[in-house]
């Protein structure tokens, strides 16, 4: 991403929609429409914190037809390294932020005969915009939305109103669970499944769909890992010839950027593969938190996705 191309936005609406999720409305500072996007897109929000810059990916949840504002939902992460806390605690109506143009890594397949959408918790956000793209399209779809309890079901009213009996809700608190085996075993040929939610849910959907014989190309998922906290470590950048300290609450990518070295990225959430970096030397373990590298590649230990992954080591040398 090229940061020169960010768009200045102002926060014009904030609503606490569940105990943990805040809903933000953003409008262009320059006025007028924001760029057109497609359902499933995310933006990177650039936040100027007191002592550092946060850049977090958030899915656009509003209608692609309504471009006077962008809407995002932000869950307060328990172990946040700052981005979600900044949005929850520091951002008020009138705050200014920078955003990048939307990118879609979770688009609807245009030749699908049917869409099955599965959301867990905050994972509902990209699916809300996908639903907007499906309205009036003539392709059948259904939505399965799983949350801890009714009070944690963000945007439930909106969904009930628009989706009617296409919406199926499941509350953990009442012991309700999505029956993935039945759901995925009984879909017509040409159905595509989209899942966004906690890692366990995504892995379960992928495994179940594969066991039911679904082709990989019909299984879509998105999960942005917030970069987890971890131990501090040091990294040497071989081409730049500098050492960089990575503190416990800052990601490897953020630390490298703070040292003035650019790394290409799209998602900052371990999905797109764009920040893929070669590991030249290592005398410990890599802690892979991404969804991009295969298990085999992770085991090889010769590459890392610095946006979400870390290391537990004395010495790490990267090809940067």
């Amino acid at each position: 991403m090229n940061d020169a191309q960010t768009i200045a936005v102002e926060v014009i609406g904030i609503e606490q929609v569940t105990p943990q999720i805040k809903h933000f409305k953003l409008a262009a500072v320059a006025g007028g429409s924001l760029p057109v996007f497609s359902g499933g897109s995310h933006i990177i929000v650039v936040m100027q914190g007191a002592d550092r810059i946060h850049k977090n990916p958030y899915s656009l949840l509003g209608s692609p037809q309504q471009l006077d504002t962008y809407e995002i939902g932000v869950r307060r992460m328990e172990e946040s390294r700052g981005g979600s806390h900044f949005m929850h605690d520091r951002v008020v109506i009138g705050s200014r932020l920078e955003i990048a143009h939307p990118v879609n890594l979770f688009g609807l397949d245009k030749i699908a005969r049917k869409h099955v959408l599965i959301a867990g918790g905050i994972g509902i956000t990209p699916i809300l915009a996908q639903l907007e793209d499906l309205h009036g399209g003539g392709v059948p779809y259904e939505l399965h939305y799983s949350v801890r309890s009714a009070e944690h079901a963000a945007f439930l009213e909106r969904l009930r109103r628009r989706e009617g009996d296409r919406l199926h809700t499941y509350y953990d608190s009442e012991g309700q669970m999505i029956g993935f085996e039945t759901l995925l075993a009984t879909q017509p040929l040409g159905t595509h499944v989209y899942v966004c939610g906690p890692a366990g849910m995504i892995n379960h959907v992928i495994a179940t769909a594969k066991a039911c014989g679904w082709p990989d190309s019909h299984i879509h998922w998105e999960q942005f890992s917030a970069p987890p906290v971890g131990d501090a470590f040091e990294v040497f950048l071989a081409r730049s010839k500098i050492s960089v300290q990575v503190p416990p609450d800052q990601s490897l990518l953020e630390s490298i950027e703070a040292a003035g070295v650019e790394v290409p990225y799209l998602c900052r959430g371990g999905v797109c593969g764009f920040c893929h970096t070669r590991v030249l030397e290592l005398d410990g373990d890599l802690i892979h938190n991404d969804h991009f590298l295969s298990e085999a590649d992770k085991a090889k230990g010769n590459s890392i996705m610095p946006c979400v992954s870390r290391a537990h080591c004395k010495r790490l040398v990267l090809d940067l």
């Binding site: 897109s41 143009h101 939307p102 030749i111 797109c272």
Partner: protein, 347 residues
């Protein structure tokens, strides 16, 4: 730029197509040095210097009216030069929006676009078109949106849907192509479509190009130049019409090459489309005869050297085998062996 249009020139029959002195000097020469090897050479499609072919998103030049007329002639005979699969409708509107907004912004004397919500008013003065329509409602346009707008644009357009980690050629307007066919390639993936380019697979260029394009970002279009040669200023050198143009090659001699042989340069632009998440691939064709080219001494020397030393596999692939030697012989008197300055500028 307010181009004065060459209203009556033709790309067939009497081939009255000509470049003005100004058009020659802005010709996008694809050779930045005296030798050539295939590469992907993709760069950001940023505005070039005033007057250059990359000053604006879509270049409108003195051939605009004549090229639109040539397109209409081809389509009247072969309607399948325009095709779109049904799931490509949102990308069609994306393309219409991109082209109308760009032309109206960049050439306000020729084009204008007024919007009131979804009610749009489009004026194309060179083609004398005045159209009110509702954006998103196909019934309010005389043709499908992509068909409609690309009949008013120079160059071919191919729209690729992105799914399953690949790009699928699934809509397009192709009437000025250099020897490939939309009818044949519709539904192909990126690598199938580019399959025949020799040497490129070994160089791994397509794997890298595909990865790059899958990540192409909204608002950050890219471009590259490609080239071949064509006998006569013939835009439509399609495989379907090979019988009409294939035999031209045998008529070239060292005496007539200056007028018959044309350098054909494609300015290829790629844009991510916002609603459909598809990619539109614009292929804008520029033709210049060797005689026109030779009015720029540096270019004459350079093109002579490039053609003389071209890799044999590329000579074959680009279809130059029968007349390359004649073209080299025609250019030889312009090459005194003196060095050329780096880059493509005329001096």
């Amino acid at each position: 730029m307010s181009a004065v249009f060459n209203l009556h020139e033709t790309f067939r029959d009497d081939f009255s197509y000509r470049n003005s002195a100004r058009a020659i000097r802005r010709f996008p020469l694809p050779f930045s040095e005296d030798s050539y090897m295939y590469s992907v050479n993709i760069e950001p499609h940023l505005p070039g210097p005033p007057g250059s072919v990359t000053e604006f998103a879509f270049d409108v030049d003195e051939h605009y009216v004549a090229e639109c007329r040539e397109r209409a002639i081809v389509l009247a005979a072969e309607p399948l030069r325009y095709q779109a699969l049904p799931h490509m409708m949102s990308s069609q509107w994306d393309c219409l929006e991109l082209i109308m907004e760009s032309l109206a912004r960049d050439y306000p004397t020729h084009f204008s676009l007024a919007k009131q919500g979804n009610r749009w008013h489009w004026i194309n003065r060179p083609l004398q078109i005045d159209q009110h329509f509702t954006f998103g409602d196909t019934a309010t346009l005389p043709r499908q949106p992509l068909d409609y707008i690309t009949r008013q644009a120079q160059g071919d357009f191919v729209v690729m849907d992105q799914r399953e980690g690949d790009l699928w050629t699934e809509a397009g307007m192709v009437t000025t192509q250099a020897d490939w066919s939309l009818d044949f390639d519709l539904g192909m993936t990126f690598k199938e479509w580019h399959g025949p380019v020799p040497l490129a697979h070994e160089l791994g260029v397509f794997d890298r190009a595909l990865k790059f394009l899958l990540n192409l970002r909204l608002g950050q279009p890219v471009r590259r130049l490609n080239w071949t040669m064509t006998i006569h200023p013939r835009l439509d050198t399609s495989p379907e019409n090979y019988p009409q143009w294939g035999t031209d090659r045998a008529t070239v001699t060292a005496q007539n090459a200056g007028d018959l042989v044309h350098l054909r340069v494609e300015l290829q632009g790629l844009w991510r489309l916002p609603r459909s998440n598809a990619i539109v691939f614009g292929i804008r064709c520029y033709l210049v005869s060797l005689r026109e080219l030779a009015t720029v001494p540096k270019w004459a020397r350079r093109v002579h050297r490039v053609l003389k030393d071209l890799h044999p596999a590329l000579v074959d692939y680009k279809g130059l085998t029968r007349y390359r030697d004649a073209a080299v012989e025609w250019l030889a008197p312009f090459d005194d062996g003196s060095p050329t300055t780096p880059g493509t500028a005329p001096e």
